[in-house]
Structures are given as C-alpha cells and as structure tokens.
Assembly symmetry: C2
Homo-oligomer: 220 residues x 2
C-alpha cells in the first residue's frame, strides 16, 4: 500500500469551500499546462489568495501536484468500483463493455483529471512520474488480469494466449478508444467525440466485436 498524500494541516483546517476552490483551480491549471508549465502564480491569482498562503498549505509545487493526482486516483477507484458492481453478472465481453463505458463516463465527468493523466504520460521530469503512472496502470491490470483469468476459465477467452498478452490488447484498444474520445486527432477517423450516446454505444459494440472474433472472416 502506498501512503496517502496528506497536505499540511493548515490546508485541512480551511473551509470546505476554500479547499475545493483551491483544488479546482489547481486541477484546471495542471490540466491546461502540465506539471512543468503550470504556474503557481496563475493558480493563486485565480483563487484569489496570496502566494504565501498556498505555501502554507503545501510544501511546494510537487506536493500540490501529488495531492491533485491523489484525488485523481480516488476518482478512478470510484468509477472502477461502480463498473465492477454494475457488471457482476456479465460475461467476459460484457464486463469489457462496462469498463469502456466507465472510461467514457469518467472523461465526461472529469475531463480535466483525464487531461492531467494524458499529459503525464509523456511529460518528463514530473516528480514520481513513473510511480504515478504505474499506480493507474495497476488499476487496469488489477481489473483486467482477474477478468481474463476468469474469462479463460469459463471458456470465453482462448486458453492458448498468455494472460499478459490478452491484457495488453485490451489495454491498447480501450485506452486508445478513450484517447480518441478525448482527442479527435487520435480517433482514426471514427469521429467519436461528435457521436450521440447511441452511436457511441454502437462503436463500442463494433470494437468489442473485433476483440472477440478478430479481423479475419470466420472459417469453419
């Protein structure tokens, strides 16, 4: 277990309203600029507090960022738990479907947190970057790993494939689907962002169909 990120006590003593205002503006700034280019000056200006105050709540920029990222992982955990609960009865590909929909819902609800994650993926010199990404990737493996094992046991997933390979392909397609939803230049022409809910659902079905049966035509 990793230790929870806890800001200085002064921050926790603030009113809920002020705390969430600070969090909101910090999230916005990090989402907009990434860790490196995010400006503490911009944050305090928008929140309407002095820079010195921010430094009484957090030791430095890194601590603020880690706190924000910790909230992000909390939200991911939340959404994943919901997804798991909603798909208890579903079979393997049904659970994959629920996972995709959970991802889409996350982006709808928390686009700025998702943006922070995307920026983190390839930005350099972010404190503990690999750890942070690893934490999120671990969610995915904790979710898909057992799912694949179970799917294999139940005969819904081929037994001749190593589990990591299955997880890799699921990861690849699901992540790219979400990225394409958030960034249209990554959707390979699917125009995911502009789709209605039902069109989106159809696209999800098509992707899952390919995951299930592959690109080649069936042959007895």
């Amino acid at each position: 277990m990793s230790k929870p990120i806890v800001p200085k006590s002064t921050f926790m003593n603030l009113s809920e309203e002020k705390r969430s205002r600070i969090l909101r503006e910090a999230v916005r700034e990090f989402a907009d600029k990434g860790f490196q280019k995010a400006s503490l000056n911009a944050i305090v200006a928008r929140v309407g507090i002095a820079k010195g105050s921010l430094y009484q709540y957090f030791d430095n920029k890194e601590a603020l960022f880690l706190f924000v990222f910790d909230r992000f992982t909390d939200l991911v955990k939340e959404v994943l738990a919901e997804a798991a609960a909603a798909s208890l009865e579903a079979d393997f590909f049904g659970q994959v479907r629920v996972a995709v929909q959970a991802g889409l819902a996350f982006i709808d609800r928390h686009p700025e947190y998702y943006e922070i994650y995307l920026k983190l993926l390839f930005e350099q010199a972010v404190p503990q970057r690999e750890d942070l990404i690893g934490k999120v990737r671990l969610f995915s493996r904790d979710y898909f790993g057992p799912l694949c094992e179970e799917g294999r046991r139940q005969g819904q997933v081929r037994r001749d494939l190593p589990t990591e390979m299955v997880v890799f392909v699921l990861d690849a397609v699901l992540d790219r689907f979400l990225q394409g939803y958030a960034k249209s230049y990554l959707d390979s022409g699917l125009a995911l962002a502009g789709k209605s809910r039902s069109e989106l659902a159809a696209a999800v079905e098509a992707v899952i169909d390919i995951l299930r049966d592959g690109l080649a035509p069936k042959q007895g």
Copy 2:
C-alpha cells in the same frame, strides 16, 4: 501538399558538419524536454555557438522545432516506403507484421525523434501541433486504409466491418505496441524493451494472431 519547411538561407550555407551538429543537439533537447521546456540556451551551449547565431539560422524557437519535425516526417516516410517495398508480396496480416517491425526499427534507429513525437501527442501550446500530429496520423491512414480495402477485397478481412473501424483497431494496437516498446510502463507487463529480437518477433506474432482471430475461442 504542404510546403516544405525551409530554414533561412544562412543555415543552408553552413558546412554539412555544423548543420548536422545543430540539428543533433536540437533534436536531443526537444526529445528531452518537449517543445515548451526546451531551452535554446542549452542548445547553443552544447553546439558551441552564440545565441545570436542560432537566430540567424532560424527565425525563432518555433521555426527550429518545425524544421526538426520536418526531418522526423522525412524519416517516417523513408521507413514506411521501405516497409511497403518489403511487403509487396505479403498478404494482409503479413503487411501488418512488416509495419510493426518497421515501427520497431524506427524506434531503434531514431529513438529521440520518436520521443519528440510522443511528447507532442499531449503537450499543449505547441505551434501547429494538430497539423503536425495530423501529418503523422495521415501516414498511418494512407498506409492502413488501402491495405484494409485490399485485404477486404481479397477476403482476408471481414466485409461486415467499416474500414475506419479496422484502421482504428490496427492503429490502437500497433501504436500501443510501439509505445510499450519505448516506455516500459505502457507494455502491460509484456516487458517488450528487454526482449531479444526473436522474443520480440514472437510477441508480434501473438498480437497479430489476436488481431486475426480475436480473443474468443473458435467455434465452428
């Protein structure tokens, strides 16, 4: 057709050796820091020229970056052409295999250029970012689009799938495979970076196998 990026004439008059030294250090810096955080001071210091000189070769940071990125697209074009030439006789999945191997070879040969591309994906406020990414994505669609059409005509690809859908899945899996090769935290436990050439080839086969036949067991 987009116009070629041409630096100021002073740069072209430089000796080949000096030009390539400048290019090399610029590539290194952009790969390391991304566009925003890349430091012209660092570049000129490493090249051993005055900052004013750099500004006689390029109008500004943006022009230098565009020049570097233009070299990147040249290299991609080169590798793709090689791949296309090497797979003239191959069937659909054979050509996919060649494309993956071409990508791996590119990363081996030009890791820093690939790094620049990855950073560009989610960095903000890079001049003409969407255009630049679009240019690279277009390569992919120009390569996979016709490939899919042909594969479908020849009966190697299911006819009930929209071409964009097929391209999307190919893109997703291939890109993630390359990203996992370059960044181990994205390989879902496959440990691609540490693999020998033959192990890597085996992993490629496994992925293509899934792309062809899917995750579900065959059933008559």
